[in-house]
Symmetry: C2
Subunit: 221 residues, 2 copies
DNA sequence: ATATGTGAAATTATTCACAGCT
DNA sequence: AGCTGTGAATAATTTCACATAT
């Protein structure tokens, strides 16, 4: 099986979710001038076991050298290719409340190669306002953004009540990838991929573990 | 095995991660006055299969009625208890950059019962400033916050370079639960639980799937 | 000598399908 | 008659351990 085939055919979801972490660790190593790295070292930097790292990388192809390790630049480039980061992924942020404005000001998108090409809001009182140097656009512009500018990823930063509506508008315009910050479950066609970022879910999971720790300590201090 | 024992002994991690979603769906049902719900309905609202929902709930105990379904209030209360949400979880946010300020202004913490009791920054020029009605405090205050106010959860909103330092300070002060927004892997002792929220990782996962979809469509449009 | 890549084993998670209870 | 709770079956993921390549 060729590398390209391996990439297109299934890379397990759990592996995909870790590739960005490896990529970041590799970028840090490259920054400090490291040229070669072993699976043990890279795994430590990424916070996983070396066996897991090697298994993950094996789904992309065979880019290491036995007895030596991995070339940092090469591996970073292969992971970036597997993730599809060699192409452009124009992003639009929908919902210009507190969160939307914070995201619009966030530099992390651009740093990772995601170009924010539009900020949108459904409220006519917000449309036209300048946020982080861009004019806020109406939802009706979505179709043109997909057609004309290749808009590929929609970020939903609306209040929960309007998140599904925002999502429907994105999907209707042809967006196939959605990052949802609203604390609701979105309904989308099969062809659309949704990822969720949810603060309060994370806090609740922490509460669960915090409670477990407290109980464990009470039993065996 | 008693319910309490079931809760304390392992609820699978994958189930724990879904409990907050069920809780939110139940809250929405309660809001609209629904008193009883079947696993099928609740599962649909939470975006999972009914078998998965029932299996997840079975780890908490047996709170449904065969042939009938679940009492919405009761189930919500049981899940809240399992998650440890009946107790107070004081939160501190470390790092008063853009993200830290956005988080400080975010109402979602309080709505879910997480009380933000302190905002901190290591920069003396920021300490003392007022953010969202609170005075920003120095890192040296952490120990007193844990001792005196029961600080339990630390939110790291610093730049990546200082995230480990912030984390170390939290852990040294006695915080056992950390929510990390900085795009770095944190090193902590076993007794500390870290959850990560990472925008660019999520975007990269979307890019991977977007690429897959594009390829699939090219092959079979 | 050393570190990768990978089958095989072990563990964890999901789905199936139905017995058991209301 | 209907819906939960759960063993059993299946699938996914992780870990082990070593043959293989340099």
């Amino acid at each position: 099986m060729s590398t390209a085939a391996a990439t297109r055919r299934g890379v397990p979801e759990a592996s995909v979710a870790r590739l960005p972490v490896y990529l970041r660790a590799l970028a840090a190593l490259a920054d400090e001038g490291t040229e070669s790295v072993s699976s043990e070292e890279l795994a430590a930097a990424a916070g996983v076991s070396s066996a897991k790292l090697r298994k993950d990388l094996s789904h992309l192809g065979s880019y290491g050298v036995r007895g030596v390790g991995y070339d940092v630049e090469r591996l970073a480039s292969e992971i970036a290719t597997a993730l599809g980061l060699t192409q452009d992924w124009p992003v639009a942020i929908v919902g210009m409340g507190n969160l939307g404005r914070a995201l619009a000001a966030y530099r992390g998108f651009a740093e990772r190669g995601f170009r924010v090409i539009a900020l949108l809001d459904r409220d006519p009182r917000v449309v036209g306002e300048r946020v982080s140097g861009s004019r806020v656009r109406p939802m009706a512009d979505l179709a043109a953004l997909v057609e004309g500018e290749g808009l590929a990823i929609g970020v939903i930063a609306t209040p929960p009540e309007s998140a599904q509506e925002a999502c429907d508008a994105l999907v209707a315009a042809g967006v196939r990838s959605v990052l949802n910050f609203a604390p609701v479950v979105l309904t989308v066609p099969d062809a659309v991929v949704v990822r969720k970022v949810d603060l309060s879910t994370e806090l609740q999971i922490l509460a669960f573990h915090g409670q477990r720790l407290a109980v464990a300590e009470a039993v065996a201090p």
